[in-house]
Structure formats: structure tokens, C-alpha cells
Amino acid sequence: MKMLGLVFADEHDADISELTAKRTFAALPFGARYRIIDFFISNMTNSGIQNIGVVATTKYESLMGHVRYGGEWDLHRSKSGLTVLPPFSFFNGEMRYENVLEALQANISYIEKNTEPYILFTCCNAIGNIDYSAMLEQHIKTGARFTCLCTKHPVNKGSDLTTTEYVLDSDGRIKDIVIHNKVTPGAYVATNTYIMAREDLLDILQQSIDQNKTSLRNDILKPALDESLIMAYVTDEKLLYIDTVSSYLKSNLALLDGDTRRELFGQELRPIITRAGNSSPAFYGEGSVSTNSIIAAGSTIEGTVRNSIIFRNVHIKKGAIVENCVINQDCTIGENAVLNYAVLDKSVNINDKRLLSGYITHPFYVKKNSII
């Protein structure tokens, strides 16, 4: 195999602290039956990667419970496969990595012991169906030292967070890396996804440890822009961002658009795979109404659902009205309850006749296991 894959599961926990109170970012449920990690593992396996490390530092129980040995992705193999990399006492004894470079430094032994000539490493806050094998092909063809993924279509990127943008020349070489407070229209937005030669990365990591460097962007990439060929790989796919509760709602609801949905899930050779539950089919009762919604299996719909994403094993009782919501797994919505722009975490119980209303920019968020 040509390329090793590494995913950083919790680089973005702090951005969306409500939803990541009990789980790492990569384990966030998304799109009625997935977790965010599914998109990254599926993209990697669809691109021919058979060896994947998932770097996790905290709250990784639900992540590990979800991916297990990677059997769903055919990664449960004897010679390669999926490895969750929890923190271990590394060079300076700190338990939590602050950024990508530190996470790489901490997992240097994993990178060392595998033999693939190339390595792909990525954060996981932007969801798309991305062909990493095309990115690798470009990397090899251009002879670049680094190839960095970026997009001109960042969808629902939270406006109050900083964004890293690449300035490119006409050949797609990165001339500058700039940081803005909000997305510049038409800019090449960086996704924190990189391909490079594995041996080269090991050299860089060893040096960075010796010289106490801590930022990939500022200490490694920026100083190398002139002397090394650092290329951008611009994906045409839309990338759905999840960095606030509002963008979590918006990016979920974006799946109601047929083109977005088909781009993400409808690529015949690049299916998005997730851990299977054993849910029965969804049941729609007499007199129920479900329009413009995505509804997962195991759910029972007796009330009204519009413009919403309903996860597995949700029960929406008679007379209840659910609009513009994301309802996570195992929730129950009582009779005649009315929900608008709400985000319900797992196993929430809404009693009869309750009224919950937020707005698209400020969704009504209800945390796991709550009873209202």
C-alpha cells in the first residue's frame, strides 16, 4: 500500500463544547445515522488506504465503541487495519496535544513502524466525499514536498472563528498562508489535510522535537514556502463545516438538498460506511406527516416531521410537530409537543405538550439524557 492515514479525532473539541462534553469531536453524530469519523475512514478506504490511525486524546469511549476494529470498513485485517491511538506518556509528559504538530510528534512511533511511502493526515471538522487517491496522484506528479487540501466551497463555516487560507500562484503552488477572522469570499480555505512522504515527515518531526517547535503552520509550512514546493489540492466537492451548534444544525439540514446529499452519499464507487445497528425499518403511522426530511431506521413517526434530520430509534408521538430540527438517536418526542430549530442530543425525552423553539443561528440545544 502506498499511503498511511492518520485522523486527529479531537482537534476541534473546544469549538463546539456543548456537543463534545461527553464525546470527542470525531464521534459527533451526523446525517441521521453516521458519526463524523465515518466520512474520514470511508474516504480513506475508498482511496485505497488500508492502514489508518485515529489519534484521540480525551473522551474517546464512544469513538472506540463506534469504530472498534474497523470491521465495517474491512479494516479488521491481520497485516494492517485500524488503530485507535490514545495518548501515552510522550516526550514532555503532557497528556493533551494542543495542535496537529504535537499530535504527530506524540505518535511518531506509529508513523515509524508502518512502511507506506506516503502519509495522509487530517483534522475532521469539514465533511465531504473526497478522493484522496486523486490528491496523492497530484502529489506524486508535481513532486511536491507537501500537498495541502483546500476548498473554495466551505459550507456553514462559523463566522466568528479564525480561518486559514492559502494564496496560490497559477500552478496551484502555495505562495502564502494567511489567517483571517472570517472566510474571505472566493478564498482557498485550508482544511488541515496534508499528504507528504512518510520518511520526510519523520525527519521534520525529529527536528521539530529537538528545536521545540509547536505549530505545523507557523514553524514548518510558512518558513518552507520559498525553498520547498508546497502545493494546494483544491477539491471541487462542497465541504460541510461543523464548528458551532448552529453550523452543526445547518450542515445537517444541508443534506435535505438533493445535490448535496447525492454528492456526499450517492457516489457509487465511494460509499460512506458506518457501524451497523440492528434497527428494524422505520414505521410511519396512519395520519403521520413526513416531508423534506431524512429519517433513519428504527424510528416510529406518528406525528409531523418537516425539514428535519431524524436519527435511529426516535419516537415522534401523535400530534407532535418537529420542524427544522436535528433529533439524535433514542429520543422520544411526546404527544402534541412542538419543536422548532432544536438540536436534541442522544436519548432526550420531551414530555407531552412541551414547546421548544430556537432559531437557525441560535438553535435550542438539549443535552444528552435530558428530560423536558
Binding site: P281, F283, I294, A296, N313
Partner: protein
């Protein structure tokens, strides 16, 4: 270390299921889809694992390709074990020649070496073509408590239907005194469900005798059970009161699918206490469009529905366009129903394309059940 299982199951999955044609044209009956996301065999297999039986031999013969693929290593049922687990047992050639399985009893006889690997005290014999949720462990316990040589699961059926079944007469202790296969004038209403627990030694003895008899059809119901009864062995009936259907005909297959619908369905699939496990194919969740209207239906994953669907069971990867109407139907995977088409009281097999404004079937009260075979186009 000597290894041993208390009870193993032998699941008969080789029948052709000709009365289910065209659904069984290229697929063994146990692998026919059921209830939106299941195959018929999932019920027997799930019953086994839910009853703590972790060793299952599946005897295959007719059209085994899809069934074998579906079973795989048995992982969906947690039957991918190092010792025990799921084993597909096809007919085979041996040094003294080979043969197709001649009958249900002969199929077990030919697999004695598989059974010997586990040295079980008891053997559970099952069919792969029944839809039911049954705890075999309770039946096994009753078998042991009775000190029986064979226990046959029975259910009480209406007297007018009794002549379709193997009918048992019992004494007050539940011991079987008489057995008649499909009797013209049934003496009782206790019908065999085709589920047997045997004490291994006794089963082996009677299979050997059955094999020596050239007149025998090598069938459990016709030959082995009557022989045991004639030989004075202790046969007991175990009365089962739950849901059980033989889905051997198109109309019984359709009805059993419909039994999964309603607010309190006769056959509850969403049952945390008795999960039915199945092998997944990976589809995104179902999308319901602006014009979708769903009433009293079950719907699996990967569907794009913008039409009206009522009183129906839908599989996966189905497209139903705006203005199409589907009523009283079982629709299997990969079916497209275009704009304005009306599909009523029908079974639509996989990969069927129903074009715009086509009419399939008719009113449930006044027409016959319509079946569209796999891969057909309807204009």
C-alpha cells in the same frame, strides 16, 4: 481439552420453495428478503443466538450462491466463532461417492461428522423458511425435564386448517400418542411447526435405521417421527403460543409482511427484547420529499420517496416519484416507481423499474395478488 456443546442447531435451508416462484427463481427460499431489511433465515438464526445456541449448521442445496454470500462467516449474528459458530454444509462427494440430500433426515445423516465435532447432548432441527420469534431454550429445558427422546414444537391451529400440517395427539402429560402427516380427518388441532429437539443418541440411532430402509423418503415428518413413535420412544409436544408463519406461498408471504405493520403489529420487528439480526448493506438513510405521504408503512434505508405510500413494506434503495401511489405492497430493494404510476396489492421483487403512469395490480378486495419478478420493466 475435551470440548463439547450442550445443544447445536441444524437448519434445513436447501428447499427450492417452488410455490414462492418467481421470488425463488435464483435464490433459495431462506434468502428471500422479508420485512424490508431481513431475509427469511434471519428469524431462525436470530432465534438461535437469542436462545444461547452458538453452533448452527446450515444445510444448503438449491441455488446456494446468494444464501452463502449472505451468511458469510456468520458475523451479523455473532456466529463467527473459533469453536462453534455458523457453518454452511452443502452436499459433497466422498470416497464412496456422493449424493444430493435425499430428504430432511438424510441431510442430517450426511453431516454426522459435523455433529460429532461438537459432541452435543441435544440437537435442534429447524427450517429456514418460517417467520417467528421463539425461545428454543425454554423448549430444550422442557425436553430435558420430561426426559424425552424427541420434543416437537406444536401450535394450536383452527380445525379447518389442520389437514395442511403434521397433526399430533397427546396424553395429559403432553406425551405424543399419535402422529399423522397431513391427515384428511385430523383428530386434534396440535400442528407440528417443523421444530424438533432430539436427544443426540436417539436421533443417530433412528437416522441409521432410516438410511437402511430403501423404501423411506428420508423425511423427518413422514419417516423418522413415525418410526420413533412405533419404536416406543418418548416423544413430547411443546406448545408454542406466539406468532409463527410458514411463508411457503406467495399469499402467506405477503400476509406475513403485512403482519409487521400497524401500531401494535402481530409481528413486532422493533423488539428490544428479541432482536432480529441481519446482514447490512450500506445505504444512506431514507429521504422523504416535499410531496411524500406515508401512512402505515415500514421503510428501510436508502430510499428517496416523493409519492404516496400506504399499508406497505418497503426495502432499501427505492425511488418513488411524485404522484406515484403504492398501496398494500411489498417492495424489495432497488426498485424505481416513476411519476403517476399506481401499484396496488403486489409483491415487487428486486431491480424492477415501473415506468411513469403504469398500472400494476388492483384493489385488494377485488383482484388477485400481483407479483413482478426481479429485473422486470413495467410500462
Amino acid at each position: 481439552m475435551a470440548r463439547k456443546k450442550k445443544c447445536i442447531a441444524m437448519l434445513l435451508a436447501g428447499g427450492q420453495g417452488s410455490r414462492l416462484a418467481p421470488l425463488t427463481e435464483n435464490v433459495a427460499k431462506p434468502a428471500v428478503p422479508f420485512g424490508g431489511r431481513y431475509r427469511i433465515i434471519d428469524f431462525s438464526l436470530s432465534n438461535c443466538v437469542n436462545s444461547n445456541i452458538d453452533t448452527v449448521g446450515v444445510l444448503t442445496q438449491y441455488q446456494p450462491l446468494e444464501l452463502n454470500d449472505y451468511l458469510g462467516t456468520g458475523d451479523p449474528w455473532d456466529l463467527n466463532l473459533n469453536y462453534g459458530g455458523l457453518h454452511v454444509l452443502p452436499p459433497y462427494q466422498a470416497s464412496k461417492g456422493g449424493d444430493w440430500f435425499k430428504g430432511t433426515a438424510n441431510a442430517i445423516y450426511q453431516n454426522q461428522r459435523f455433529i460429532a465435532n461438537y459432541d452435543p447432548d441435544y440437537i435442534l432441527i429447524l427450517s429456514g423458511d418460517h417467520i417467528y420469534k421463539m425461545n428454543y431454550d425454554i423448549m430444550l429445558q422442557e425436553h430435558i425435564d420430561n426426559g424425552a427422546d424427541c420434543t416437537i414444537a406444536v401450535m394450536d391451529v383452527p380445525i379447518e386448517e389442520a389437514s395442511r400440517f403434521g397433526i399430533m395427539s397427546t396424553d395429559e402429560t403432553g406425551r405424543i400418542t399419535e402422529f399423522a402427516e397431513k391427515p384428511e380427518h385430523p383428530k386434534s388441532t396440535l400442528a407440528s411447526m417443523g421444530v424438533y429437539v432430539f436427544t443426540t443418541d436417539k436421533l443417530m440411532k433412528y437416522l441409521e435405521m432410516d438410511e437402511q430402509n430403501p423404501e423411506s423418503d428420508n423425511d423427518f415428518g413422514k419417516n423418522v417421527i413415525p418410526a420413533m413413535l412405533a419404536g416406543g420412544e418418548k416423544l413430547h409436544a411443546y406448545l408454542y403460543k406466539g406468532y409463527w408463519r410458514d411463508v411457503g406461498t406467495l399469499s402467506s408471504y405477503w400476509s406475513a409482511n403485512m403482519d409487521t405493520l400497524g401500531e401494535e403489529p402481530e409481528l413486532l420487528l422493533n423488539d428490544d427484547g428479541w432482536r432480529i439480526y441481519y446482514r447490512h448493506d450500506f445505504h444512506p438513510p431514507t429521504y422523504l420529499g416535499e410531496h411524500a405521504k406515508m401512512s402505515n408503512c415500514n421503510c428501510a434505508a436508502g430510499n428517496e420517496i416523493d409519492g404516496e405510500v400506504c399499508d406497505s413494506v418497503l426495502g432499501s434503495n427505492i425511488i418513488i416519484e411524485e404522484g406515484a401511489l403504492v398501496k398494500d405492497c411489498v417492495i424489495m430493494n432497488n426498485v424505481t416507481i416513476e411519476k403517476g404510476a399506481v401499484v396496488e396489492y403486489a409483491i415487487i421483487d428486486r431491480n424492477v423499474h415501473i415506468h411513469a403512469d403504469a398500472k400494476v395490480g388492483g384493489n385488494k378486495e377485488s383482484s388477485e395478488l400481483t407479483v413482478i419478478a426481479a429485473g422486470k420493466e413495467v410500462f
